[in-house]
């Protein structure tokens, strides 16, 4: 019979080991990407056009495409997402309709990304006739990002103390005035953090843009929202599986640029969270 204190030590050591196994690959991935990607970075690589069937030159159009898609996604998903969260947190009664909306949001969050791709193709590209375009891609990514933004905004709204609202009502403010002047200003940091994280995920998605916007090789910048565009995540797919004899340097460089963009967004989001948490007085 082993002493229960010894048992505890063994158990905790096993738990620690498991945690290390979970975390280690993150470090490994970042290390491999940085080590191999950094030498590829240059002004020419980031701001140049691809040449020689993507085997040399830069990746500027893919960066611009991803930025356009992310902005397009933000334009559609942020207003819708914030308004929907306001409805759920500030207006909705606890009834069957609210429950159905919640179930719908949970399911939107769970639909596989490739199914969003199919849906976006059949609705936006084919049925509405947008063609394979930045517009169709952004709309597809927006619907996918919506549940993330709604959930984050709702959490931020519900963290605003009830007493704030009551004080506003007691001064004779209407419900919308209370939301706009009292609840929203206090929830902004939380909303921003969640929104940026949602958008950074959209920026890295490949499956939803495969058939809705992504161009295999298009060495010019998009001119309108009805244009196709290259995008970083799809470009990584193309470079690593579709085009033979691409130098690893270009592959890693492209991966590093995407990972770098996403990390900058994530760090920005954490900064906002920390900054406002320190300033928060309630």
């Amino acid at each position: 019979m082993i002493d229960s204190k010894v048992k505890e030590k063994i158990a905790f050591a096993i738990l620690l080991l498991a945690t290390i196994i979970v975390i280690a690959p993150v470090a490994l991935v970042l290390f491999v990407v940085l080590l191999n990607g950094l030498p590829a970075l240059s002004f020419e690589f980031i701001f140049g056009m691809p040449h020689d069937g993507m085997r040399s030159g830069g990746i500027f159009p893919t960066i611009v495409g991803t930025i356009f898609l992310t902005i397009g996604t933000a334009l559609f998903s942020i207003p819708f997402g914030i308004l929907a969260a306001i409805y759920l947190n500030e207006y909705a009664e606890r009834n069957w309709l609210t429950r159905v909306i919640e179930i719908a949001i949970v399911n939107l969050a769970g639909v596989p990304s490739i199914v969003y791709g199919l849906f976006g193709f059949s609705l936006f590209v084919a049925f509405l006739g947008f063609g394979s375009s930045i517009l169709a891609g952004s709309l597809t990514l927006s619907i996918m990002t919506l549940p993330v933004i709604i959930t984050a905004t709702r959490e931020a709204l519900s963290a605003v103390p009830r007493s704030f609202r009551e004080a506003s009502y007691s001064l004779g403010a209407s419900r919308w005035q209370t939301v706009r002047n009292v609840v929203l200003p206090n929830a902004i940091p939380g909303i921003l953090t969640g929104t940026i994280l949602g958008l950074s995920r959209a920026a890295g998605e490949t499956a939803p843009i495969l058939f809705t916007v992504a161009a295999f090789y298009l060495p010019k910048l998009p001119g309108s929202v009805y244009d196709q565009a290259m995008a970083l995540p799809y470009h990584i797919y193309v470079l690593s599986t579709q085009v033979p004899n691409v130098s690893p340097k270009i592959q890693y460089g492209t991966v590093l640029v995407l990972v770098g963009m996403i990390f900058i967004l994530n760090i920005f989001a954490s900064y906002i969270r920390m900054h406002f948490r320190r300033k928060k007085t309630w």
Partner: protein
């Protein structure tokens, strides 16, 4: 005038609120619109139980059983790896780790969630596949096993964060009661805390499965992409999701091949709907359980 603008904005708020329902219905309608057309020419039973997936040969054969088995193999392997590791690290992060280490570990797991699947797929091809190839002496490392390992890690952020939440929501008095009876912290964890958090753990596992079944790009790149009936984890397979991603670009719009990919989409939609609905119910139940007692 103020009243009118307020009336308009409140209507907009309501419409955005119910938009999520509309989007779920739209996804379903458009999948059905295209997918059901397949069954004018193909028997639904043959579609699901057929063992040959030759969508562009003449005559084409649309049997998705190899793809279903491919998805099952990869998912099963991933869950076998992910569930014990996920529970163990969630317990460590929530109950054992000192505060400074906890924040560090949590950020690490968040970082894993932030890395796009295409990047993990790329790194997997370069590191994991050669490793498996030499370890098991295979002709190619791109196998169901590679997909399982990859997906186990990709599902980790989901599994760990939900289990951690549900452990954190177990009332303190439960743990204090156990410790007061002379139990060690470990005895308290596995006799009291984990059973009390069981519905949350179940929900985490289900959502992890949902994440694994729906993952597309990394799986497409790393499982070897062979649409044949697999017999072992060390063979290349192809999943339902990867099939859509790989073939949609070449499928002629309005052809049976095109419709069949949407029919696969319907199946994926139904699977994710069932998983998310039941996981949500488990989460609701665990929330309710502690509400009265706290």
């Amino acid at each position: 005038m103020k009243k009118l603008s307020e009336f308009i904005i409140e209507k907009l708020i309501f419409l955005s609120g119910i938009a999520s329902i509309l989007f779920v219905l739209l996804i379903l309608v458009f999948l059905l619109k295209e997918g059901l057309s397949l069954f004018r020419t193909v028997n639904p039973i043959d579609f699901i139980t057929g063992t040959n997936w030759y969508p562009i040969s003449d005559p084409p054969q649309f049997g998705i059983l190899p793809l279903i088995i491919g998805s099952l193999f990869v998912t099963f392997g991933a869950i076998v790896i992910a569930v014990p590791l996920g529970i163990a690290s969630a317990v460590y992060v929530a109950e054992v780790a000192p505060p400074w280490l906890r924040d560090f570990l949590k950020s690490g797991i968040e970082l894993l969630a932030a890395i796009p699947s295409i990047v993990l797929g790329f790194i997997g091809i370069i590191t994991l596949a050669p490793f498996l190839k030499s370890t098991f002496n295979l002709s190619s490392g791109l196998t169901a096993m590679a997909g399982s390992i990859m997906l186990a890690f990709m599902s980790m952020p989901t599994i760990v964060s939900i289990i951690e939440d549900s452990i954190a929501s177990v009332p303190k008095s439960y743990k204090e009661g156990s410790l007061a009876l002379g139990a060690t912290r470990w005895q308290t964890i596995y006799r009291v805390t984990l059973p009390a958090a069981s519905s949350g753990i179940l929900a985490a596992v289900m959502l992890g499965i949902g994440r694994v079944v729906g993952e597309t790009m990394a799986v497409l790149m790393i499982t070897g992409n062979a649409a044949v009936m697999p017999t072992s984890m060390l063979q290349p397979v192809r999943t339902l999701t990867a099939t859509i991603a790989a073939e949609m670009g070449e499928a002629v719009s309005g052809s049976p091949h095109y419709y069949s990919l949407f029919a696969i989409g319907i199946i994926l939609f139904i699977i994710s709907f069932a998983i998310n609905l039941s996981a949500d119910m488990f989460l609701h139940r665990s929330k309710k359980k502690f509400k009265v007692k706290r």
